[in-house]
């Protein structure tokens, strides 16, 4: 009975939860964007001398763009800022700073936070450049690492 329940649950939940920048379908109230019909989650992996992220996150229009933090090697307390750098397009990724250690599991998986509200595709016809900055302070110096991925708003 338990196995059957888990199987049904997996079949219901999994198709709606895709990773790696693909749009997710869900209706809910987003703290950043209000009533939306989904969110797109892209993971950012970072640690000592290492950063990884999908090059272009495809965010469905009128949904929330969410970045999931995956720190390595004691970077849990590092501040991560996600902000649009593309000045040609309307600024829909305003700039948000969070630490993995301060992001418990809630509306999104642990370490994930909202970074932007995707407008209509007509407003942002081109992929939007943004940066992901990591700042880690040690006793002697401050490490500043960053990656320059893009987000494309799709229908």
């Amino acid at each position: 009975m338990k196995k059957a329940f888990l199987l049904i649950l997996a079949m219901t939940v999994l198709p709606a939860c895709t990773h790696g920048g693909k749009p997710r379908i869900k209706n809910f109230d987003s703290p950043l964007c209000g009533a939306v019909n989904g969110f797109t989650l892209s993971y950012f992996i970072y640690g000592e001398g290492k950063m990884l992220m999908i090059p272009i996150s495809r965010v469905k229009e009128n949904t929330v763009f969410v970045v999931g933090l995956r720190p390595l090697d004691g970077f849990e307390d590092s501040a991560v800022t996600v902000e649009q750098t593309d000045g040609k397009l309307p600024k829909w990724i305003p700039g948000t700073t969070k630490k993995y250690s301060e992001l418990p599991k809630g509306l999104y998986p642990q370490g994930a936070f909202e970074v932007g509200c995707a407008p209509d595709t007509s407003e942002v016809p081109d992929p939007t450049k943004f940066k992901v900055d990591v700042v880690k302070s040690t006793v002697d110096y401050t490490i500043r690492n960053s990656l320059d991925p893009r987000a494309e708003v799709v229908k």
């Binding site: 001398g49 690492n145 960053s146």
Partner: protein, 163 residues
């Protein structure tokens, strides 16, 4: 015949050894315009960048061990598994020392200064001579530097002196 072979090969081997020891004794660095003791680290620190398994990647070993008065070498290695057909070989890479004023042990890293693009093959990478470690560097000194790959990102690794 054996003696003849020995006569031919022994001087050649000796010459080879002499060349090797001369190399480890030092050479004139064009980059720094001075005599240096050699190259460090023994295996150049690799800067890997591009796309790997559908993710943008930028990776550099956090700490490179260098020796005083040696050329500091870094190796560029691109990953071109882009699903969008991006070729990262043409991406500019800049290595620049960081001003560590106010730091307790970090040293002036202005001697670290180089730029270039990947021109080697995937197997051997492309060597960038970042600069020459100061002659007066002592064990434990460290130098912070930025590795910037234009339009991809940047990392802040460091070089630490081990003499």
């Amino acid at each position: 015949m054996k003696r003849l072979l020995a006569l031919v090969f022994v001087p050649m081997l000796a010459a080879g050894c002499a060349a090797t020891s001369m190399n480890s004794d030092g050479f004139h660095s064009k980059k720094c315009n001075r005599q240096v003791d050699g190259i460090s680290p023994p295996s150049p620190t690799v800067i890997t960048y591009g796309e790997k398994k559908k993710k943008k990647i930028l990776e550099v070993k956090t700490k490179s061990n260098v020796k005083a008065n040696t050329e500091f070498h870094l190796k560029l290695k691109t990953r071109n598994d882009s699903q969008y057909g991006v070729n990262y070989d043409s991406y500019d890479v800049t290595i620049k020392g960081v001003d560590t004023k106010g730091s307790t042990t970090g040293k002036d890293a202005s001697w670290i200064d180089a730029s270039g693009t990947y021109t080697g093959t995937a197997a051997n990478g492309h060597i960038l001579v970042a600069g020459c470690v100061p002659k007066d560097a002592v064990e434990g000194d460290f130098y912070l530097f930025n590795v910037t790959v234009t339009n991809l990102g940047h990392l802040d690794p460091r070089a630490e002196v081990i003499n």
